[in-house]
Symmetry: C2
Subunit: 211 residues, 2 copies
């Protein structure tokens, strides 16, 4: 393989990375929908035409960002078992799950923001919103199904309950991208944990027996 060819590949990869980086920055600043392809190429210091050598359009670039993020998460999670039999009615375990989800969204702000906007901007008839919600909550759903199998009684269908939890999380994350009080509320995860675990009635002393 000739050297020139290698160098070419490297430069191509650099351009691709530059586009992805620029996109992240712009998505975070102005949002996904308000960012034009020409904005991205300009910020990356590349030409408009160069963009289409790497991505068919903005949506495909977003999928690439998503893949990158998922790759990074998988790497960090490597080796950590994630068995199906977590008990989400255990406060610590529920809190862990919510904390991971929240942290991932916060640490990947541009991607989370863009995915949410893309989900909502899509023609509602396509059903993308429900599909996205469903996919993003598949882990929670499995844990809930496990609970049901063990005889626990949930407020409703596990799939729907999981989607409801996800809807709350992603929408709050979006709404809090610009923190209302200036700084990010520190106890979001704890509050949501308690709300989802015990509801408005709050943790209450249980009867001794399981009647």
């Amino acid at each position: 393989m000739p050297q020139g060819s290698v160098s070419r590949k490297v430069r191509a990869a650099q351009t691709r990375a530059a586009l992805l980086d620029a996109a992240r920055g712009l998505f975070s600043e102005r949002g996904y929908l308000n960012t034009k392809i020409t904005d991205i190429t300009a910020a990356a210091g590349r030409s408009t035409g160069s963009f289409y050598e790497h991505f068919a359009g903005k949506e495909e670039l977003l999928q690439a960002l998503l893949a990158e993020m998922e790759g990074a998460i998988d790497t960090r999670m490597r080796g950590l078992e994630h068995p199906r039999d977590h008990d989400l009615t255990d406060r610590e375990q529920l809190r862990d799950h919510l904390d991971v989800a929240w942290t991932v969204m916060r640490q990947n702000r541009p991607v989370a923001l863009a995915l949410f906007q893309a989900m909502v901007a899509d023609d509602p008839g396509t059903g993308r919103a429900w599909r996205d919600l469903r996919e993003q909550t598949s882990t929670i759903r499995e844990h809930l199904e496990y609970l049901v199998e063990r005889g626990h009684r949930l407020p409703g269908d596990p799939e729907f309950v999981a989607a409801s939890m996800g809807a709350m999380l992603v929408t709050l994350n979006y709404a809090l991208l610009t923190p209302p009080g200036g700084e990010d509320a520190p106890d979001v995860v704890d509050t949501l944990t308690d709300l989802l675990l015990y509801g408005l009635t709050g943790p209450a002393p249980r009867a001794a027996d399981g009647t």
Copy 2:
């Protein structure tokens, strides 16, 4: 006042109403973001120029639709007292509130859809998402504040808890605009009531005393 002038006013009102009607239909079919002003005028059987005689733009038309909806609700609710001291930890009262909210969104599908898309499409930096969520949940927030005043312990700040409940509601509504299984799930309100009231642990037997 001359007759010609009256007739003119009437026709203007008809055009305005036709535009609003057409917008409702198109928003419901294709969504707010994908509907162009020219689509609305075409569907209403009017010219493009006519639109700007009544609205400065699409967003202003949406605000008009919102005002219309709120007017209709106020009319229906006229005479019904809505005191601040509702107890949302009472299942029936919480269910009633969620049911009203859900029914309003379902019966005003185009407006609810459009408002949600408009909220998300706005530049995130404006903080519109949080503001909208806050406003739409002001009633719930007041009830929760009332509970806190009476000594009840909530999972967190009433404003944030109310916003969380609202986030869940409006996002699920949006995701379920195209029902996944074909028909609309009938027990959405009941499931959300139980989830928000008791959480994942479900209603449980309480201890006899309040220790």
